[in-house]
Structures are given as C-alpha cells and as structure tokens.
C-alpha cells in the first residue's frame, strides 16, 4: 500500500546505523561543515608521480578544501606542493594543468619561484622596495605532501593532521603487493562534472548489491556459481575505509568483451580487488588495469568526478593498447558499467535534491559481510558521524535539543 506524507517520512524501525537521513546528501550547511571538518583535515590523492617525471614538471590540483594547489618536482627530484597563488598580489601562479618550467613565474609582475618555493626573482626589487622587502622575505606556502601506496602523491591542508600512514592504516595492505610490484604510469585522466552528492557516487563503489544495475557484472560474476562472487567479503578498517576480496571474473561470458589475456603482477588471473578510502577515493584493480576514483565536491549537489587509469611503466605500446581496450569495455565515458553507475548516482542526486520530500535511505542489508552486505556504507557513515559530530541518521538532533531547551 502506498504511503502518506507522515508514513513516508517515518524513521525506519532499524538500528540508526542502518539508515541515513537524506539531508546529509543535500543540505548546504552540512556540506560547509564537511568542508571544514573533513575535506580540510584528510589526505587527498592529488596526482600520481608518473605525471611529474622530470625536474620542473608541475601539475595543478583543485583541492576539495577550496584551495588551488600546484605540485612541483624540484631539481632535487623531490615532489612538493604549494598553494597556487603568488604571494605578491594573490594572482594564480600556474594556469595550465601541467607543464615544465625551471621556475614558476607569475604572469602578473614576473615574480619567480623555484621548485622549493623560494622566491628567486622580483623585477626591479631594490628600485621599488629598497631594503623594506626582498626576495628572502617572501615564498610560496607549502602544503604537506607524501608519496605512497604505489607512487601516488597525497596532500593535506592541515599542518597538524596525522601522517598519511596513520590515516590509511591497514586499508590498502591487501592491495600493496600489486601496487608496489612495478612502477606504474597514468594512462588516462579525465573529469566528469555531475549533479549529485559525492557520497552517493562513492556508495556505488561501497556496495555491490547494485550489480543488478550492471548486466556485465551479472553475466561475468553474479550468475557464475564458480566465480566466488557471493564469497567476496568486506573488511572494514578504522577511519571509514573498507576493502573487498577478490574473485574470478568470467570475462568470456560477455560477448563483445574485447579482453585479452593480460593480467597484473601478483594479482590472480581474472582477479579483482577493490579498496574504498574515506571520504571518497577508490582503488579498483580489475585484472589488467588499476582505476582510481577521486572526487572534488563543490556543493552538496555538485561534484567533479576524477577518473584515473594506470598501467605499468614497463608496458610496450601493444600491452598499453590492450590495457586501454580492457578498461574501455566497462569504464571510461563509453564504458558499459561506468555510464550505468553515473546514471544511477545522478538519478539519486536529482530525486533527493534539497526541497524534495525524501524518505530515509536504507543501508540495512546484512549478509555475513559478503558482497551484497551494505556494511561498507554503514562503516563509512560511522566515520562521517564521528568527524561531523552528528549522527548520519539524525544530523539535527543537537539543534532540536537546543531549540527545546530554549
């Protein structure tokens, strides 16, 4: 029987860990708090070191904490990150997403900075500033940077945050042999701007019950009793991270798979491992290619989805082509699965937009932590609630209490 408004908005008779208040996906105030309490505090995967192979190479990164960054490989081969802003008049220092330059030179007044962030030139320095300001008095603002887990470059705006290893904990341990087997190289990087909440897209990597959305995954896994699909288990780690165990994907079952026999060092043939990191990074190693999802949330209903594909630095052109072909079957802008994932999470964004009359969102499947268990999302929201100081099932409880007291 259909529901009236009161019934529709009724809290589920479930533990509060097993459903979410829909406002966490649409409320602008909560989003601003996420920016302050989460985005500015955690380590973000910004680029891969292969994107800056030689001294002088740089890459820009739009940090979710609302900062423009530039990542530079110095003459000493060390990778450092700086705010992408000239300390003179606040102009953007680097305009292009990548490049190579001995120094970063601001177009506005030609102030120049080396790969350590030192100011190395101020045109007509003494004529204008005499002894009051000199190049040693100014420098770029450095942002904490660590390299790890397969050569990825991680950044953190918080000078006092724990180190990267402390935040990741053991979440990536199950994939480390594959990530560190050989030097990797970024093959694809592209963005997709989507009208939805970043947590909703991350959910599509945190639960596999939605394989009903993907005929590809049903044919190559769910419907194959010997694939180990239903034996895949979630492991939850402190900090809201979770990993999913491997399986044996039956690629040949899907016509038009176009896949070769290519694999990945130390990964079982046709294997597939996945790790979700809080708040929105996914390592997805599927047989022959590593896919990295990361997100740049701009507003509660607006997100830049960053998609990276990695192969091995030692790949021949033929192997690289096969990795791209393998990936393109299901991933990329034309991939069978990714298009379906993004349709669904964008549909959630449309249906649950602010002002809509939205029910509580269920995350209540329990199947002994196996693949259709929704523990991944539940575990994520426990960490979200801890960092936000609010329950994801009842985010306004403290305001209600305060209003009653008043």
């Amino acid at each position: 029987m259909s529901r009236n408004s009161v019934q529709w908005r009724q809290r589920p008779q479930l533990p509060s860990t097993h459903y979410a208040d829909p406002s966490i996906y649409s409320d602008p105030d909560l989003f601003e708090q996420e920016r302050e309490k989460i985005f500015k505090k955690v380590w973000w995967l910004a680029v891969h070191e292969s994107e800056l192979p030689t001294p002088g190479d740089f890459r820009t990164y739009r940090h979710p904490g609302d900062a423009q960054l530039v990542i530079v490989r110095g003459e000493d081969m060390k990778i450092r990150t700086f705010l992408n802003i000239c300390p003179h008049r606040g102009n953007l220092l680097v305009y292009t997403p990548s490049g190579n330059s001995k120094n970063l030179v601001c177009i506005f007044h030609q102030w120049a900075f080396n790969g350590k962030g030192d100011c190395v030139d101020i045109p007509r320095e003494k004529a204008g500033y005499q002894q009051r300001v000199c190049r040693n008095d100014v420098a770029l603002k450095e942002v904490r940077t660590e390299i790890g887990y397969g050569g990825f470059v991680w950044v953190n705006l918080d000078d006092n945050a724990p180190g990267l290893a402390g935040e990741i904990g053991g979440a990536l341990d199950s994939m480390l042999p594959e990530l560190e087997a050989e030097p990797m190289e970024t093959l694809w990087y592209y963005q997709a701007r989507l009208k939805t909440n970043f947590k909703l897209i991350h959910d599509t990597n945190s639960e596999f019950y939605h394989d009903y959305l993907h005929i590809y995954n049903r044919i190559t896994g769910m419907l194959k009793p010997d694939s180990g699909y239903f034996q895949r288990k979630y492991t939850a780690f402190p900090g809201g991270h979770a990993s999913v165990g491997s399986m044996n994907v039956s690629y040949e079952s899907y016509k038009s798979s176009g896949r070769g026999q290519l694999g990945w060092p130390k990964l079982a043939p046709n294997g597939w491992k996945l790790v979700d990191l809080f708040p929105c990074i996914t390592f997805n190693l599927r047989t022959s290619v590593l896919r990295i999802d990361s997100y740049i949330p701009l507003a509660p209903d607006d997100v830049i989805y960053e998609f990276r594909l990695l192969g091995l630095k030692s790949d021949t052109p033929e192997i690289r082509r096969q990795r791209e072909k393998d990936s393109a079957v299901i991933w990329g802008p034309f991939g069978r699965n990714l298009h379906e994932d993004l349709l669904a999470s964008s549909g959630q964004g449309m249906a649950m937009a602010k002002g809509s009359e939205t029910m509580y969102v269920l995350q209540a499947r329990e199947e002994d932590l196996t693949i259709h268990d929704e523990v991944g999302m539940r575990h994520y929201l426990v960490e979200w609630s801890r960092r936000m100081g609010r329950s994801s099932a009842d985010p306004y409880a403290s305001e209600r209490v305060a209003a009653r007291a008043a």
Binding site: E51, S256, L309, A344
Partner: protein, 156 residues
C-alpha cells in the same frame, strides 16, 4: 567520376553516418561501413600529456557491442551530430580517401526538450572507394571535449 562528384559522395556518406547514428539505426550505420571497419574514440589529456583511447574496436567487436546495448541501462536522451567536412584527400592508388570533418554533438532532454552541447571534436575518416561505392573503412573520433558528464553507450 569527376573530383567534384567524388567529394560530394564522400560528404554524403559522412552526413549519412551521422543521420543513421542520430536515428540510433546502428545496423544502418554498419551498412555504410566496410567489412574491415574499425572505430576509435580518443581525446588528449593535457593533465597527463597523453592521448587516451576510450574506444578501439574492429567490425566484429562493434557488432557484438551493438548487439548487447539493448540489455544495458542507458541514457535515452537522443544525440544529434552536426558534421562539416573540411578536408578530402584522395589516394587513387589505394582507392581510398582520407576525410576530415569537424563535429558538434548535441544532447536533447526527452523531458522538457532542452538541448545542450555534449561534445566537440573531429571525425578522421578513412573511406574505401573500391567497387565505386564509398564505404567507411575507419572512423577515428578525436574529441576536444573530455568532460562528458555521465557519458553514453552510443558511438559518436
């Protein structure tokens, strides 16, 4: 055939491929293609200074690919392709022509009818001239647009 007639026939072939794809007439599109047809979509990523190949299929693979499309969940909003042939290079010895077109692809919402620009780029076509009937031998869609939102299952 004169050079003028040749060029017009080639232009008509390019435009007809757009029309067939706009109609989602994938079999009709394949009917304009050579048995050795190959299809590729790529874009250059300035972030990583590398060409990304997002689709790379031969005729058999693309036929299977089309066959599976009805079984997938997919965006139903129609795409319309606006191509303009800009260059034709004949290779009489090999009975081929290299035809370059600029292309803009629009997406129109089924709900409400708003149209938005989906992608811009170029068709780099190789056309077989054998047996007097132009047939598309290879199409490389070289996109300038890299942000395609939620993407599409359809060839561009």
């Amino acid at each position: 055939m004169t050079q003028t007639v040749d060029r017009r026939e080639l232009e008509e072939l390019v435009y007809e491929t757009c029309a067939r794809l706009d109609e989602k007439d994938l079999q009709g599109f394949l009917g304009l293609c050579d048995p050795a047809f190959a299809y590729k979509v790529s874009a250059y990523a300035p972030e990583v200074r590398r060409e990304m190949t997002w689709l790379d299929r031969d005729r058999a693979e693309i036929e299977e690919f089309f066959g599976m499309l009805p079984k997938h969940n997919t965006d139903r909003n129609p795409l319309s392709r606006h191509a303009q042939v800009t260059r034709v290079r004949m290779d009489a010895a090999r009975q081929r022509a290299e035809v370059t077109s600029t292309v803009q692809i629009f997406r129109t919402q089924l709900d409400g009818g708003a149209t938005e620009l989906f992608a811009v780029g170029r068709y780099l076509d190789t056309i077989s001239l054998q047996a007097g009937t132009p047939r598309l031998l290879a199409r490389h869609v070289k996109l300038d647009t890299r942000d395609l939102g939620w993407g599409t299952h359809l060839p561009l």
